[in-house]
Amino acid sequence: MKKFINAPENVVAEALAGMAAAHPGLIRVHTDPDFITRADAPVRGKVALVSGGGSGHEPMHGGFVGRGMLDAACPGAVFTSPTPDQMLAATRAVDGGAGVLHIVKNYTGDVLNFEMAADLAKEEGLDVAAVVIDDDVAVQDSLYTAGRRGVGATILAEKICGGAAEAGADLATVAALCREVNGAARSMGVALSPCTVPHAGKPSFTLGEGEMEYGIGIHGEPGRKRIPIEPADRVAEMLMEPILADLPFRQGDKVLLFVNGLGGTPLVELYILYRKAEEIARSHGLTVARSLVGPYMTSLEMAGTSITLLRLTDDMIRHWDAPVVTPALRWGA
């Protein structure tokens, strides 16, 4: 394991200290329990957005805390969901009197911990709503599984709902918008290499020189199948096909195309994938009205990519374009 770390047990705490030092104008880092809030929290009269999950996916979620996006993020241990005391403390810290929305990726751990935190917060009289994100088409949804995993749509929901909250929408409206984004977004990923959780010290799985893991999860969970590596254009097709098959869309729809890097894949490759993915979207009669390309939701140093397609409403476009000032996503201000 070759990493710039000091000790596996200090990775999260030291990275949080680095974030605090690097972005004092944007965020505040709280410890014991650990959470990150925007520097000016709580914002009076604004619906507050809280998300969180295991660490190792940076910049998600801490890098998305700031004006126009998240009010707080709760980082767990690497790839392990945080605990309810973190979410409860974060919820208290950012509540500005207009209620708090929990944006939760659909993993049993995240869901249960956020649920407990919401229960506790409600007992304290706080107004809390929760939306679970489950956009990963790699996993077959059914009554008999934990359901689809939450992946790339999380970031899009955080940005769009952040814009709506900043614009003064109330809790019910922001929560409904979050559900709408989740319902209109689909994602699919593929990995070329595993990653190594610092505490484990060895790669989470092994892949042969000519293999890729199709349908990979962001914690190195096994995907749909292990198959021979394909050229970039074919990979783009293989990711877009199940997304387009699953997403209810009509010719002429506007979409946001998000080509995400899982950590170890260089930007130049993401653009090669974007080129083909955009062409495929166009050939299906879709207009790619907005784009996002880069390593925004990572699995440590895993080489791989995921594509997220979101069918946009004009409302979503407006909130996507609205100003955002976070360590990882910034525009308009």
Partner: protein, 205 residues
């Protein structure tokens, strides 16, 4: 041979449980690596280490259960943290006002705890989760002649329930993503539940 569970005995239980989990941490994580994300041992070891540090000298079983539950909730994370946390928090509620628990009392308390886990996690027996160890354990507590016998029967039932998860497809938790590929692997959470109940039987036996 105790016929009542009191604070000293419950404290001894947790000590044994923490030691067993620490010792079996690698085994639990290996089970989780096969069908999950490989952190179940580390998660529980972190939690029970914190429990031992926090426990102190609780006034009664309810206070003890509550401290254990809240500590697990605050330190374990993942799926098992809120579930084991709920188990103990609900046990605390059911044990409220009682200085000791006999076999029937413990039966009621554990049943309440397990009901809490079901309410929280929505798993049914056969879903390949800790419920597959906990539910038979509750059933085995019924109608035993003595507390030690009840606890021994519960431990045996939990162990059998855990082992019986091997042929199952998972319907809850991370292992459910695997479909058929989960077959042949014992569930880590069911295994840790069986360990907890074995530690109790030993402490009281």
């Amino acid at each position: 041979m105790a016929d009542q569970l009191d604070v000293p005995l419950l404290t001894a239980w947790l000590g044994r449980a923490a030691a067993a989990i620490e010792a079996q941490q690698g085994h639990l994580s290996d089970l989780d690596a096969a069908i999950g994300d490989g952190d179940h041992g580390a998660n529980l070891a972190r939690g029970f280490k914190a429990v031992m540090a926090k426990l102190g000298t609780p006034a009664d079983p309810a206070a003890l259960f509550r401290t254990v539950g809240m500590t697990l909730i605050g330190t374990v994370g993942g799926a098992s943290g809120p579930l084991y946390g709920t188990l103990f928090v609900e046990m605390a509620k059911a044990a409220a006002g009682r200085a000791t628990l006999d076999a029937a009392g413990w039966h009621g308390v554990l049943a309440a705890g397990v009901a809490g886990v079901v309410a929280r996690g929505k798993a049914a027996p056969g879903d390949k989760t800790m419920i597959d160890a906990l539910t038979p354990a509750v059933a085995a507590l019924e109608g035993a002649a003595s507390l030690p016998e009840a606890l021994a029967r519960a431990a045996t039932a939990a162990r059998a329930g855990a082992e019986a998860t091997a042929p199952l497809v998972a319907r809850k938790g991370r292992a459910s993503y695997l479909g058929e590929r989960a077959i042949g692997h014992v569930d880590p959470g069911a295994t840790s539940s069986a360990m907890l109940l074995a530690a109790l039987a030993e402490a009281a036996g």
